[in-house]
Amino acid sequence: MTRRKWLDKFVKMAATVIAAVLGIPSLALLAIPAFRREQSLWVRVGPLSDFRPNEPRPVTLSYQRRDGWVIKTARTTVYVVVFGDGKIKVLSNICTHANCAVRWERSKEGFYCPCHDGLFAIDGSVKSGPPPRPLDEFQHKVEGGELFVKLRG
C-alpha cells in the first residue's frame, strides 16, 4: 500500500499548503493593527519671526488627521513661548487639572485657567491653583526659520 500512503501524504500536504496560502495573508490582514503604533506628525506653525520674546501667542493648527480610511481636518491650539534667550517652548492650552482651555494673561504674568483659577507660569510650571502638573509640552523643531510642532497623529 505504498501508493495509497503516498497519495494520502500528498493530499494532506496539498491541503496544508492551500490553507497556509489562504490563511496566513488573511490572518495577517486582521492582526496588523495589533502591531502598528500610532503615528505622530509634524505640523508647520509658521515663521519664527512671528513670535516675540516672552510674549506667549496662541496658534490654532489645522491639519489632516487619519482615522483608518477617514481623513478628518483636526484643529489644535498651542501656545508658542519664545524666551528672552531664544529658547522655545510649545505648550498645550489644556489645563492639566480639568481639561479647560487656559489663556495667557499679561496682567497675571501666566496662563490662567478660568475654571478653577489655576495659574501656570510662562514656562508652563504650576504657579498656583489646583493643577497637579505643568502644562503639557509639544516637541518642536526649527527648519529654515519655520517652527514645526510634533502632534500625536
Binding site: 494520502d8 493530499v11 489562504l22 489645522s62 491639519y63 481636518t73
Partner: protein, 820 residues
C-alpha cells in the same frame, strides 16, 4: 493525548467515524479527472469566503467611505492588495469553472434519474454565484462600479410593467446612492452567503448519498460498474492536484495583476463608459440584436427562458442513455447554446476597446501626461478632473494646434485657466504625439497615487465649483497640503469671482479679517506694492498731505496721481470729512496768528455775531477742541465761575472772590503755569500783584492813570487812610491859594482823601467845572433864584470871585456899547 480527545469526541458525537466514512466512500472505477471540478468550485467558494471575510473587517459600505476604505485595504495593509486581488481573480475563475462543471455534468448525463435535484440545486448555485458577481461589482464604489451598476439598473428598468419597481427595489429608491450600496453589501455578505451555504450543503449531501455518476452507463444500470476506488486518497489526490494547480494560477494572477481600482465614483462624469466583464459580454451582445423597444427580450426574457430551460433539463430529457452519441438531440442543443454564447462573447470582445498600441514617442508623451498632471483637469474617456474637456471626445486634432494651445492656452480662449506648458521641443513633440493619438477607445493611463490622499470632500458633487467656500472657511486647512502657488496655477488667468470691479474698494476689510485667504494666492509683500506709501496709522495721518505732495514729485505710477490712488478706497467726500471747505481769506493775512485770539473772543462770546457771520465763524470749520491743539489743556474749573475775571467783591480788608482770590490762594505761580507774567498787566496796566516797593511809586502810578487804581480800590479804603490821614507834602501853607494850579489830574488825586464832594464844600459848585458849565452857568444862576443886580453881585462875591477876577467875565461878556 490527541487520540484520547478524538476517542472521547467519537464516543460523544460519532463525528470521527462519520468523517472517516465520508472520505472512504467507494467510487466507481470510471470516475476520474472529469469529476474534480465540483470540488474545485467548492475550493473557490472557500477562498472567496475567507478573503471576503478578511476584507469585511476594513470595508465601510457608505458612498463617502467605501472607496477610501478599499484604498485603505490596498495601500495601508500588508497583504491587502493580495487578498483583494485573490478575491477578484477567484470570482472570475469560478465563473469559468462553473461553465466547465455544468458542461461536464451535461455531457456525462449526470443530471438523469435519480440525480435530478442535484442538477436543480446546481443551477440555483450558479444563480447565486451570478448574484455574488453582480452585487460585489458595486462595492468598491469606483467609476466602473458606479457606472456599471447604473447601466445594469437601467437594463432592469427596461423590463415592461415591473421594471421600475424591480429597479427601485434594488436601488432602495429612485437614486443610486447610499441605500443602494448598503443593499448590495448586505446581499453580498449576508443573504447570498447563507443561501449558497444551504445550497452547497444540500448539493454535496445529495452527491454523497446518491454517489458519483459512473461514465456512460444507462439509467438504472449503475450498480454494474465496480466500485474500485475510494474518495480518499484516489479521487482526493486528483482533486489535490487540481487544487494546487488552481491555487498556483490564482497566486500568479493575484500577484502579477492586482485587482483594478478605478478613480472614485464620480456621478458627474458622464463621459465615463463602463465596459462589461468578460463573462457577461454575450448578454450585452444579445441586447444589441434587438431594437431598443424590444431590448427587454434580450435583457430579461431570453436569459429567463435559458435559466428555466436549465432548471427543467432533467425533466425534459427522459432519454435513459448517458453516452453522448446515443442522445444526440440533447447534446447538440446544449452544445449549440454553449457555442452561441461563446460566439456572442467573442463578438463582444472584439467590440471592446483594444489596448492602445503606442509608438515609443507617444509612450513618452503618455508618461509626460501623467508627470505634468494633465489628468487633474482632463479625462480620457472618463476619469480625470472635471475642469477641462475630456480628451477622448472630439475629432482628430491638428498637432500644430495642440502645440499652440499647450504653449499659450490664452490664444484659444482668453479666459482659460489652463497653465502654459513651455516644454523643450523633444518633450513637446512627445506630448503632442500622444494627445493627437487619443481617440474614442483610448483609456486613461494608470495614475500613481499622490500623497497625501485627497480628503473625501474633494470627491463631493460640485467640489470644483464650490472649493472657494471651503477655502474661505479654513484657508489654513487647504494650506496644510497645497502650496500657495497651487491656486496660482488656475487663478493667474482667472481672478476669484469676489475680485470684481468693486473689489479694490472693499478688499481691505477682507484682508484685515482673513489675511490667510489673501496669502493663499498672494505673497505677503503683495500689499506693499500699492500700500508702500500708505500705512494708515496715526503717524501717517499727520503727514498725509506731505505724502501726497511727495508722491506727485516721485511719479512712481506713471499717469496716476496720488489722489486717484486715494480714490481707489476713499470717496471724494472723505477728504471733506476733515478738510471741510476751503481756508477763508481772513486766515491768509500775515498777522492772522497774532490776531486770531481777538477774533475768536468776539466770535465765541458774542452769539449774535456768530449767527450773523455764520459763514465765517470759527465753529463752521473748527470745533472748540480745535483751540486745544495749541492752547494745550483746558481751562481749570475755577475759571468757569460766572464773572471770574470781573468779579471784585471785597470786604474791608481784601479781595474775596474772582480771579484775584484764586491768585492769592494758590499763589501767582499757579497762574503762571499757563499765563505769561505780563498776562495780568493786559488788564491791570501795572505790575500785579504790586511789588513790595509799590507804595513808594504808587503816587506816580496813580497820577499816570488814577482809573487803574479805581478798578480795584475805593477811595475810603483804610489802607489809603493809614498814610493819607497826614497832610501830604504837597499841601504847603499856601496850598489853599495855589491848589487850583496844582491839580493836574482833574481833581482825582484830591478825592483820594477829600472825597468826591469835598470841592463843593468850599466852591459850592462842581469843581472843576464840567464841560457844559460854560453854557449852563447862566441857567445855574437862575435856578438858584439869584436874580437882579444885587443877587448877581452876591453870587459873584460868594463863588466866582473866589477864583475868578471881575475881568474874567469880560473874556466873554463884552461890555455893552454906549447907547446914544
Amino acid at each position: 493525548m490527541l487520540r484520547r480527545f478524538f476517542d472521547w469526541l467519537e464516543r460523544e458525537t460519532g463525528i470521527v467515524s462519520a468523517w472517516d466514512r465520508f472520505w472512504s466512500q467507494p467510487l466507481p472505477s470510471t470516475v476520474g479527472w472529469g469529476q474534480i471540478f465540483g470540488a474545485l468550485l467548492l475550493l473557490c467558494l472557500v477562498i472567496l469566503f475567507v478573503t471576503g471575510g478578511a476584507m469585511m473587517f476594513y470595508y465601510s459600505p457608505t458612498p463617502e467611505q467605501a472607496y477610501a476604505s478599499v484604498q485603505y485595504i490596498e495601500h495601508y495593509l500588508p497583504f491587502g492588495k493580495f487578498i483583494r486581488a485573490l478575491h477578484y481573480w477567484t470570482a472570475r475563475i469560478i465563473v469559468l469553472l462553473l461553465i466547465v462543471h455544468i458542461a461536464r455534468v451535461f455531457i456525462w448525463g449526470a443530471y438523469k434519474k435519480p440525480r435530478q435535484m442535484i442538477w436543480v440545486t446546481g443551477v440555483l448555485l450558479m444563480l447565486c454565484v451570478i448574484g455574488f458577481g453582480l452585487t460585489g461589482y458595486t462595492l468598491p464604489w469606483d467609476q466602473k462600479a458606479y457606472w456599471g451598476t447604473s447601466v445594469r439598473l437601467k437594463i432592469a428598468e427596461g423590463i415592461p410593467l415591473i421594471g421600475h419597481a424591480v429597479a427601485n427595489f434594488l436601488r432602495g429608491g429612485e437614486q443610486l446612492g447610499a441605500v443602494t450600496l448598503m443593499r448590495f453589501y448586505v446581499l453580498h455578505v449576508f443573504v447570498l452567503p447563507i443561501l449558497i451555504f444551504v445550497l452547497v450543503v444540500w448539493h454535496i449531501r445529495q452527491v454523497h448519498t446518491l454517489g458519483v455518476t459512473p461514465a456512460w452507463v444507462k439509467v438504472g444500470q449503475e450498480e454494474e460498474i465496480p466500485k474500485t476506488q475510494r474518495l480518499h486518497p484516489d479521487q482526493t489526490a486528483r482533486i489535490g492536484f487540481g487544487a494546487i494547480s488552481l491555487v498556483a494560477i490564482l497566486l500568479f494572477l493575484s500577484v502579477k495583476f492586482p485587482a483594478p481600482l478605478e478613480p472614485r465614483a464620480n456621478p458627474l462624469d458622464t463621459a465615463y463608459k463602463p465596459h462589461p466583464d468578460f463573462y457577461v459580454l454575450w448578454l450585452h451582445e444579445l441586447l444589441k440584436l434587438f431594437p431598443p423597444q424590444l431590448e427587454f427580450v434580450g435583457s430579461f426574457i431570453l436569459p429567463s427562458i435559458l435559466v428555466i430551460l436549465l432548471l427543467i433539463v432533467p425533466f425534459i430529457d427522459r432519454n435513459p442513455e448517458r453516452h453522448p452519441l446515443r442522445r444526440l438531440p440533447a447534446i447538440t442543443t446544449g452544445l449549440a447554446i454553449l457555442f452561441a454564447i461563446i460566439a456572442l462573447n467573442i463578438k463582444g470582445m472584439e467590440a471592446l476597446p483594444q489596448p492602445e498600441k503606442l509608438s515609443p514617442l507617444a509612450k513618452r508623451g503618455q508618461e509626460l501626461f501623467v508627470e505634468l498632471r494633465c489628468y487633474t483637469c482632463h479625462g480620457i474617456n472618463g476619469g480625470g478632473g472635471p475642469v477641462g474637456p475630456d480628451l477622448g471626445l472630439g475629432g482628430k486634432r491638428d498637432p500644430k494646434f495642440v502645440e499652440t494651445i499647450l504653449r499659450n492656452p490664452g490664444s484659444f480662449n482668453a479666459h482659460t485657466v489652463m497653465p502654459a506648458y513651455n516644454l523643450p521641443p523633444e518633450e513637446m513633440r512627445a506630448l503632442v504625439t500622444y494627445i493627437v493619438s487619443i481617440g474614442p477607445n483610448s483609456r486613461m493611463p494608470p495614475i500613481p497615487p499622490v500623497e497625501p490622499e485627497k480628503p473625501p470632500s474633494h470627491f463631493e458633487e460640485n467640489w470644483f465649483a464650490n472649493h472657494k467656500f471651503e477655502v474661505r472657511k479654513d484657508p489654513e486647512s487647504c494650506g496644510s497640503c497645497h502650496k500657495p502657488f497651487f491656486c496660482q496655477a488656475c487663478h493667474q488667468n482667472r481672478r476669484p469671482s469676489s475680485h470684481d470691479e468693486m473689489w479694490l474698494k472693499f478688499h481691505f476689510g477682507n484682508a484685515a479679517e482673513q489675511p490667510a485667504m489673501c496669502n493663499s494666492c498672494h505673497t505677503p509683500d503683495y500689499c506693499e506694492e500699492c500700500h508702500k506709501l500708505m500705512r494708515h496709522d496715526t503717524e501717517w495721518l499727520k503727514g498725509h498731505g506731505v505724502q501726497l505732495a511727495k508722491f506727485g514729485e516721485r511719479k512712481q505710477w506713471s499717469g496716476w496721481t496720488m489722489h486717484q490712488l486715494c480714490y481707489q478706497c476713499h470717496t471724494k467726500q472723505s477728504c471733506n470729512d476733515c478738510h471741510e471747505g476751503a481756508v477763508p481769506e481772513s486766515h491768509k493775512a500775515p498777522d492772522f496768528m497774532q490776531k486770531h485770539g481777538e477774533l475768536a473772543k468776539v466770535e465765541f462770546e458774542s452769539k449774535a455775531l456768530v449767527a450773523r457771520k455764520a459763514q465765517q465763524a470759527c465753529v463752521t470749520c473748527h470745533t472748540k477742541q480745535f483751540c486745544d491743539n495749541c492752547h494745550i489743556g483746558k481751562k481749570p474749573k475755577s475759571h468757569e465761575q460766572p464773572n471770574f475775571v470781573l468779579q471784585v467783591a471785597r470786604d474791608e480788608r481784601r479781595v474775596k472772590s474772582g480771579h484775584a482770590l484764586e491768585a492769592l490762594k494758590k499763589g501767582i505761580q499757579s497762574c503762571q503755569t499757563c499765563h505769561a507774567q505780563q498776562f495780568c498787566s493786559n488788564c491791570h496796566g501795572t505790575e500785579m500783584p504790586h511789588p513790595k516797593n509799590f507804595v513808594d511809586v504808587h503816587i506816580a502810578e496813580a497820577r499816570r492813570d488814577m482809573a487803574l487804581c479805581q478798578r480795584c480800590h475805593v477811595w475810603d479804603e483804610p489802607n489809603c487812610k493809614q498814610c493819607h490821614s497826614k497832610r501830604p507834602p504837597s499841601h504847603t501853607p499856601d496850598f489853599r491859594q495855589t491848589h487850583p494850579q496844582r491839580i493836574a489830574d482833574g481833581g482825582l488825586s484830591c478825592q483820594v482823601c477829600h472825597g468826591r464832594n469835598s470841592c463843593i464844600d468850599c466852591h459850592k459848585l462842581p469843581m472843576p467845572h464840567p464841560s457844559n458849565f460854560v453854557k449852563a452857568h447862566g441857567e445855574l444862576a437862575k435856578q438858584r433864584g439869584i436874580r437882579g443886580k444885587d443877587s448877581v453881585q452876591r453870587l459873584q462875591k460868594q463863588l466866582c470871585v473866589n477864583c475868578h477876577t471881575d475881568r474874567y467875565c469880560r473874556n466873554c461878556h463884552l461890555p455893552e456899547p454906549v447907547r446914544r
